[in-house]
Subunit: 136 residues, 2 copies
DNA sequence: CGCGGATTGCTATAGGCAACAACATTCTCT
DNA sequence: AGAGAATGTTGTTGCCTATAGCAATCCGCG
């Protein structure tokens, strides 16, 4: 079978991202978390009191799409929202949220380590800077 | 704003793939093609007569999800299907499909070139092998 | 001080993509 | 011939994202 797509870095990028995403999603499912949930928890943990809008900007998610995400996290008692002014509310982790977040950290750290281990050593150091150049 | 996600290659991989995917999708939209369509056209062009199942395996798409994709391509008169035996049908490009495919090739080649140009030169050669190690 | 524009949070709706289960038909191999 | 595999298809579900629009609130400039 001829594979005309093999030589395209863009195609490999998509395939690699899909494969890694699927694996991480599977690992996070054990914690009842989606990837977006875990990212949100970690960013909130590092920036307590931030607004939903700021979180959306940070994660490059549309404001509209934060709503179900945050509702889900609040529903699960992982985050709380307290009024900053009339319209904004600050986000913070509950204690359950902090526990869940450290658990997620462990899962993600293990995942990242496994992922990096799969890359031939001479290429490893180049991956992050190359990827960052594509979107930062 | 502290960004605890910055140090994770896996996160960068996801973000980079999303960014590149969005850009390619936008460029292909000018041809009325989705990414999956373009991939399918290129693989069929390189392997005329292949079956839908073989294409699904090649692209790592579930058999079931090939149906709407191929129907769309056939609807647009880009591919044809001719019976191989009682149950299998071989896929081939129509002449419009061949034109569309070469047009897609141009778009993708330009896209890949632009993408690679954004990567600092000392990292470029390492990207493809590193990515391939993650999914091949 | 007040007003206009920007920001915030939210609803509703849609599309792209992929996963899964199930099914009938047909092929292939022993 | 019969068992098991492959093929094409349907229907359903889930996740993620995008867009448009709305009401409430905030803020800076005149």
């Amino acid at each position: 079978m001829r594979d005309p797509l093999a030589r395209y870095p863009g195609y490999s990028l998509r395939r690699a991202a899909n494969a890694m995403s699927a694996e991480l999603a599977a690992r996070l499912a054990a914690l009842d978390l989606r990837q977006a949930d875990a990212s949100a928890l970690m960013v909130i943990a590092a920036n307590p009191g931030m607004t939903a809008s700021a979180l959306a900007r940070q994660l490059d998610i549309q404001r509209a799409n934060m709503v179900p995400l945050l509702n889900r996290l609040e529903e699960a008692d992982l985050i709380g929202r307290s009024p900053i002014d009339g319209k904004s509310r600050g986000l913070e982790l509950t204690s359950a949220g902090r526990e869940k977040c450290t658990a997620a950290q462990s899962v993600i750290d293990a995942f990242e380590a496994d992922m990096i281990a799969r890359i031939p050593e001479q290429h490893r150091a180049h991956l992050l800077p190359a990827l960052d150049a594509l979107w930062r």
